[in-house]
Symmetry: C2
Subunit: 410 residues, 2 copies
């Protein structure tokens, strides 16, 4: 099956909104094993919208549109779709009732215009909308399928997930299941080299490597007749990757480093305090994203000045003078000071030069020391990060959390 | 002039990459006053790429492509463009030299493949690339213009900005100049109401309101024969908006709240310490984004536990017991304690319930108290934020910084 994705809306065409729906739908269709050949964006212009839909159907048998289902006169996707299939629009009582109740719940007044949204093509399948007013519609006729979804991603995504995906999956003989392994501390090209033989020798499951921010990702995708069968095919490949990468694989699927670390801290009941200089509170802030972190995260210090390092963390004046604020000695005392003054098992500290100024030949921009003390044992790590101020800070946060994770797993 | 934007690349078509170039180019073309009628995404498929470019030229006279200029056999944008204009590809010595020096500088080895990138259409204008290996190309012939840009945004954006924009501006009789006013503390719909008469009565300059994250934005755009003339037309409108919104307008153009606050602190030479509970270090981290902040930002505490509020900030046990950690009394003592223990002019504190758990009827999720002390005078503010944990924390950071900004302006 060949598909095309069409976004309808002047606000996307003119760049006021980023077309995230197209990316979402493209990924979903790939997972279902449906080929996408084109994506198009067209404005709320009747003739150009009609040309786009008719032209797309000359090349593809599935078209998914987003947007243009609203209550105004500009919203013409449904009318154009109905025209292509020579369908008339009729009032759907259930859609109208749902819309009335949606307006009532959100305390807004329904206008006469909104009634337009409850009109649907006579032989269309109505996709009721739990997150907005416009129902979606599927029309299937003469071996062509038109799936019209509303534009706001908070409506598009759940409607696709719950109603369109099962519909399309059922048309596909095969299902495509993916498992995503997240790898820390290994660059993309090294990761690729480490699994090149697996990538080259496999066609089902496939292994796709990619990089995102500070991490490398491996996506294993199997094509099978059932979800269960696909998972069974993926298992030995995932196992082999775990064997090769060990604790470099820090998590699977929709997660991130701070979540994994927060979960480990809570599971091991280890309390933590942070002491940050160059990261400026970003490690604390990342951990605090996790609801329930308060049982283990007790205290953080952003000791930006030397005076504050001495006062808050008992870093010795002598250490600062002799080795400087950016030194393993200071990182060590910061970590120990954080744990001691807060009375926690763990102290995690950063001190470095995020730039763009402040670097010297001995201590260049990008130099960051991490201090980590766990139950009285302290270590320090020297890192050299490349990039601008934001990148250096982000990588320092990631690296500090990743190091803590590895130590917690020991 | 009618334009179309075409992104070439299977990685965008399949959703592995978000098509941010299309949004960027659409906004740029709108500013130049060039109409965009369609955006298309097509994969690295020779026939479909050719169909797309030829079809687009049947409707438009300017086409901008991104991607497909790489060294591999899959990269065919240049070849297809040359075919449309019946141009042969010839080696551009300067492009080759620049490429060789780029490889040398980045310490990589240039392969034979890369030479392909230095071949350009005979009558094309070469856009040399400072940020990558592929030069861009403009072909202008028979009243049609094809502008081919590389795919990675870090190459596309500067190339457009520096080389394509002046080229297109020169074709336009009129220039379009915008001024963006950023407004804090006023919701989008109230803002719209406050300027509705201006929007309705003006066609040049136009006023476009929109909302982004916690702020509201007004974009004033004038069409004129020169930049100077456009700016002169915008000035009285901007003045009127400043008159209506006063200090609600916190900045103009490419800036953000933390930058404006950091600049004000430095300008007024006021030192600051932060004391954060629910925001968990995010205020400190936002301020630390600003290079040079170390002259005024001395210290931050993330006092997540009650013990840490007492120890770090001298919050009284009695206060915590009597009013609770989330109370104006605690916020006040946190702000004062931060300033006092760090020896700063300013103390800024947050304490609240970010959820999803921990809310009660008296103190629901979203309740946040902000404490602010400046030169010995302390105030507190009660806020009720709506949304998930992330949203509540983000809005608390924004509101705290905005409040500090307003007080610094007094």
């Amino acid at each position: 099956m060949k598909a095309e994705i069409i976004a309808v809306g002047t606000e996307i065409l003119l760049g006021d909104i980023l077309n995230t729906n197209a990316q979402y739908l493209a990924l979903q269709l790939a997972e279902l094993g449906i080929d996408v050949h084109y994506q198009t964006v067209v404005g709320d212009n009747p003739q150009r919208l009609e040309n786009t839909i008719f032209h797309a159907f000359s090349r593809a048998n599935i078209i998914i549109t987003t947007g243009g289902l609203g209550p105004t006169e500009d919203d013409l996707t449904k009318e154009t779709g109905a025209k292509y299939f020579e369908e008339e629009l009729v009032l759907d009582e259930r859609a109208l009732k749902r819309m009335e109740s949606y307006f009532y719940k959100t305390g807004r007044t329904m206008t006469e215009n909104n009634r337009k949204q409850a009109f649907v093509p006579k032989n269309g399948k109505v996709l009721y909308n739990d997150n907005g007013t416009a129902p979606g519609i599927i029309i299937e006729k003469n071996n062509k399928i038109l799936i019209m979804l509303p534009g706001p991603p908070k409506e598009t995504v759940p409607m696709f997930e719950q109603q369109v995906k099962p519909y399309l999956a059922q048309k596909q003989e095969y299902t495509f299941i993916s498992r995503v392994l997240r790898i820390a501390g290994v660059g993309e090209s090294i990761m690729e080299t480490m699994v090149k033989d697996l990538i080259d020798s496999q066609t089902n499951p496939t292994i796709a490597p990619y990089a995102k921010d500070s991490e490398s990702i491996l996506r294993i995708t199997a094509k099978a007749k059932s979800e269960q069968e696909a998972e069974k095919m993926i298992a030995p490949v995932a196992e082999e990757i775990y064997r090769r990468f060990g604790h470099d694989v820090y998590g699977e699927g929709e997660t991130n480093m701070q979540t994994v670390v927060a979960e480990l801290l809570i599971q091991k009941q280890k309390t933590i305090a942070t002491a940050e200089s160059c990261t400026g509170g970003a490690i604390a802030s990342a951990l605090v994203e996790y609801p329930g972190i308060s049982s283990v995260f007790l205290d953080g210090c952003v000791t930006y000045s030397n005076a504050s390092k001495q006062k808050r963390l008992d870093v010795k004046a002598e250490t600062l003078q002799k080795y400087g604020a950016v030194s393993p000695e200071t990182a060590k005392e910061m970590a120990e000071g954080a744990a001691k003054t807060a009375g926690t098992h763990i102290g995690l500290a950063t001190t470095g030069i995020a730039g763009p100024d402040g670097g010297t030949e001995q201590k260049p921009v990008g130099l960051v020391y991490i201090g980590l003390t766990i139950d009285g044992v302290t270590q320090t790590k020297e890192c050299h990060f490349v990039g601008n101020r934001e990148k250096i800070r982000t990588r320092a946060v990631y690296t500090a959390l990743d190091w803590l994770r590895r130590e917690l797993l020991k």
